[in-house]
């Protein structure tokens, strides 16, 4: 469920990035690469878990699934917070600078 949540986040971010490209005012490319990186890593984790559990991997207990989905959503929220911090620091549109400095 965590893998699936992060893959969907990566796909949505990639579509949004493609719509806005080549402009990178919102740093959506960074966000999508972050989610793709995490998705690939969880994919490897899933392969090793499948090798250990076999077909049981595809039939988790409902409580585990819910917990994993909750974790997946929390991971997406954490990823978005990291992205917001990067966006505020890099400030490609100059919004933060515009708030901090008054033009004369």
């Amino acid at each position: 469920m965590t893998l699936l949540t992060s893959v969907f986040a990566a796909i949505i971010c990639t579509i949004l990035w493609y719509k806005k490209a080549p402009k990178s005012e919102m740093k959506l490319g960074t966000l999508s690469l972050m989610f793709w990186g995490a998705s690939l890593m969880w994919f490897v984790d899933a392969i090793f878990e499948y090798a250990e559990l076999g077909v049981l991997y595809f039939s988790p207990a409902p409580a585990d699934m819910l917990n994993d989905f909750f974790l997946g959503l929390s991971v997406v929220a954490f990823g978005l917070i990291l992205w917001l911090i990067i966006l505020m620091i890099k400030d490609p549109k100059g919004v933060v600078k515009g708030v901090l400095f008054r033009k004369q």
Binding site: M34, S39, F43
Partner: protein, 136 residues
């Protein structure tokens, strides 16, 4: 247990390498590219250090989000030894085994996907330049 450490270490190495390459790299040559049908414009390809940033972002982002998952599962703690598995030798051995299998696998897959992205982007660049040269 601590598989994200392998990717985080690679991310650190890639970040240093990217900064070093960026300093030494020259600007790419200007070429004519057909962006949309019938519109040929002057442009220059992106540097290799820019492509290394893709790998850097995937590695840092992925290992950061995985580290969050490990905190969630109580495998990473904010006090020494920071990894619960490092507190006894049996768990530490299991953790090292996981790092050498799952951790290395994660780093290899992310690097492999990035290498694929670089190859595909090089092909796209080559084809775009070739097709605009034919239409000139």
């Amino acid at each position: 247990m601590a598989c994200f450490i392998v990717s985080a270490t690679e991310a650190l190495i890639v970040t240093v390498a990217q900064k070093m390459i960026e300093k030494k790299e020259k600007s790419p040559e200007e070429v004519k590219v057909e962006f949309a049908p019938g519109t040929i414009q002057s442009a220059h390809g992106i540097k290799f250090s820019e492509k290394l940033k893709w790998l850097r972002t995937m590695l840092w982002g992925g290992s950061g989000l995985l580290a969050f998952e490990h905190v969630w599962h109580g495998e990473v703690i904010p006090w020494f030894p920071f990894l619960t598995a490092a507190s006894n030798p049996a768990d530490a051995a299991e953790m090292l085994h996981e790092m050498s299998t799952v951790g290395v696998g994660m780093a290899l897959l992310v690097t492999g996907v990035w290498a694929g992205m670089v190859c595909v982007s090089a092909l796209i660049e080559k084809n775009a330049i070739a097709s605009s040269e034919v239409k000139k």
